[in-house]
Subunit: 162 residues, 2 copies
C-alpha cells in the first residue's frame, strides 16, 4: 500500500540506489593500475574518489543513528586529506569489499525507517537547532549524500580509459 509519504521516500531511495549502482558499475572491475589514473592531469585519482565515497557512506552510519562507524581507518587517506598526501595501502579489491558491505548495511537500515523517522533530526544537530531548522533531518542527509555520489561520478567518468 502506497501513501504519499511512502511514495516520496521510495523515490528518494531509488535515486540513492541508482547512484550506488552507477558507481558499482564504474569502479568494480577496474584494475589496480586503472584505479591509479587521475580524472584529469594533476587531479584526484580514481582510487581516491572511490575511497572518499566509501568513507562518506561509512560516516552516514552514526550520522543517521544506525550505530558506530565500521571503517574509520579510511579517513586519513580518503576524507581528511587531499589525494596523495597520506600513504594508503588499501588495494582496489579490499576497497570494493568495504564499499559493498557499507552499502548493504546502509540499505538494510534505510529500509527499516518509517516516514516519521526519516524526518527526525540527524545526530549532528542539537535538539534546539533542530527546532528552528527542522530540515536538518535524515531525509535531507540522504538527498545530499545521493548528490555527493553523483558529483564525484561526474568527475570519475572523465578519466581516460586505458
Amino acid at each position: 500500500m502506497n501513501t504519499t509519504d511512502t511514495s516520496l521516500i521510495d523515490s528518494a531511495l531509488r535515486t540513492w540506489k541508482l547512484n550506488i549502482d552507477r558507481a558499482n558499475k564504474f569502479f568494480t572491475g577496474l584494475s589496480e593500475e586503472q584505479l591509479q589514473q587521475e580524472i584529469a592531469p594533476g587531479k584526484n585519482r580514481l582510487i581516491y574518489l572511490w575511497g572518499h565515497l566509501t568513507a562518506v557512506n561509512d560516516a552516514l552510519i552514526p550520522l543517521l543513528g544506525f550505530g558506530e562507524r565500521r571503517n574509520p581507518e579510511l579517513d586519513p587517506a580518503f576524507l581528511l586529506n587531499p589525494d596523495r598526501s597520506v600513504q594508503q595501502t588499501l588495494s582496489g579489491k579490499e576497497l570494493q569489499r568495504i564499499w559493498e558491505e557499507t552499502n548493504e548495511f546502509l540499505w538494510a537500515e534505510f529500509s527499516k525507517l518509517s516516514p516519521a523517522e526519516w524526518i527526525q533530526k540527524h545526530t549532528s544537530v542539537s535538539q534546539e537547532d533542530f527546532q528552528r531548522e527542522p530540515h536538518r533531518n535524515r531525509f535531507t542527509v540522504l538527498m545530499s549524500r545521493t548528490g555527493h555520489i553523483g558529483y564525484h561520478l561526474g568527475q570519475a567518468v572523465l578519466a581516460e580509459r586505458q
Copy 2:
C-alpha cells in the same frame, strides 16, 4: 504546519535550490573567455555545461506539466549534440538571463504543487506504464534532475581558473 509529506518535499526542494545556487555561484560572473575553457583537456567547455543544464531545466517545463518549452532553441548546441559540433552564438550574458528565468519559472511552479501532485505521473510516461511503475512521478524527476546538476558541477569545478 508541517506534515510528514510536506517536510519530505521541503527537503527535496531545498536540495534542488542548493544545487541551483551552487551553479549560479560558479557560472555567474565568468568572462566569455573563461566560459570557453575546457573542464579538462579535450573535454566539454564550461559554456557547454551551463547551456546543457539550462536546456535540461527548460525541458522540465513540459515534462512536469507546467506548459510549453520556452527555449527549445538551446537544444541543437547544448543537448542533442556534443560540444563544438554545432555553431553556437549565445553569449554568456544571454545564457545567464535564460538560465535565471528558467529557474525562476520552475521554482514558482514547484511551489504550487501539493504532495499528491508531486507523486503524479510525469508527462512522458503513459497511464498504463505508470500503473505498473508508480515511481515514474514528478518527485523522482525532481531528484534525478537535482542530481544531474550536481554531476556536471562536479565536472565544472575541475576547470583551471584563468
